[in-house]
Symmetry: C2
Subunit: 122 residues, 2 copies
DNA sequence: CGGCATCCTTGGAGATACTG
DNA sequence: CAGTATCTCCAAGGATGCCG
């Protein structure tokens, strides 16, 4: 794939631009959910609906971080937020279709981890 | 593992410690390969052996970053480095077993991306 | 060609405190 | 309980330059 015409004289590092933006869907996927917390939180929501503080406990994220990541995930359509204004307010987070579609990824990750994480001597 | 006794009066955010370190293998896996470049590079190496500059082109990472991530990946046993001291030096990177074992993850990621990335309107 | 040393900018993320 | 607002810190990562 001669994607790089060698004719380019100004072949600086800054010239790569965004040619890697859509190399393949994996890259795109990574760009969207490639951060630690996003993965951790989404994986945590596989169990089903969870509350803010539940997630805080299970993931270990701070309120600040959790709030932000949750916000981002909702914006990108990975999760859905349902608020109940009853007693002292309760908001539940749950995976959307888009988010649930990531389950195979987590399964694969889980399987890999089971196979290699232990023997690596963390 | 009741690491968090609800009876704790000093329930500060800093008390969570590492109870999330081994919640499940997914978290562990994410800790190891949860960064953008690691995923991107590993995915790129699925095609087979590649040279430094090949990776630089295809991933769009700078030499500095690439070098570092590659180094980390090698340390963790994901990839293998073969250097040929011929003419102007050539080093090839290739996935190890451990690294190849991640392929299912990338496949899942790829499939997900194909399904959802386009319709999301990047 | 491969890749390390340096500088510098950004944002991810924790601590803490405060509000509805 | 569920956030939001700040402040701060540090690592990730890009740009450049240089060297084997």
């Amino acid at each position: 794939m001669a994607t790089q015409p060698p004719s380019a004289d100004t072949e600086k590092e800054s010239d790569v631009e965004q040619q890697n933006a859509d190399v393949c869907t994996v890259v795109g996927a990574v760009e969207e959910v490639g951060s630690k917390w996003k993965l951790v939180i989404l994986n945590d929501l596989r169990d089903g609906e969870k509350r803010f503080n539940e997630l805080k406990r299970s993931t270990g994220a701070s309120s600040y971080t959790l709030s932000r990541v949750l916000d981002g995930l909702e914006e990108n359509g990975f999760i859905d937020n349902r608020k109940e204004l009853e007693s002292p307010v309760a908001s539940y987070y749950i995976l959307t279709e888009k988010g649930s579609a990531l389950c195979p990824v987590f399964d694969a990750l889980d399987e890999w981890g089971a196979d290699w994480l232990e023997s690596t001597g963390e």
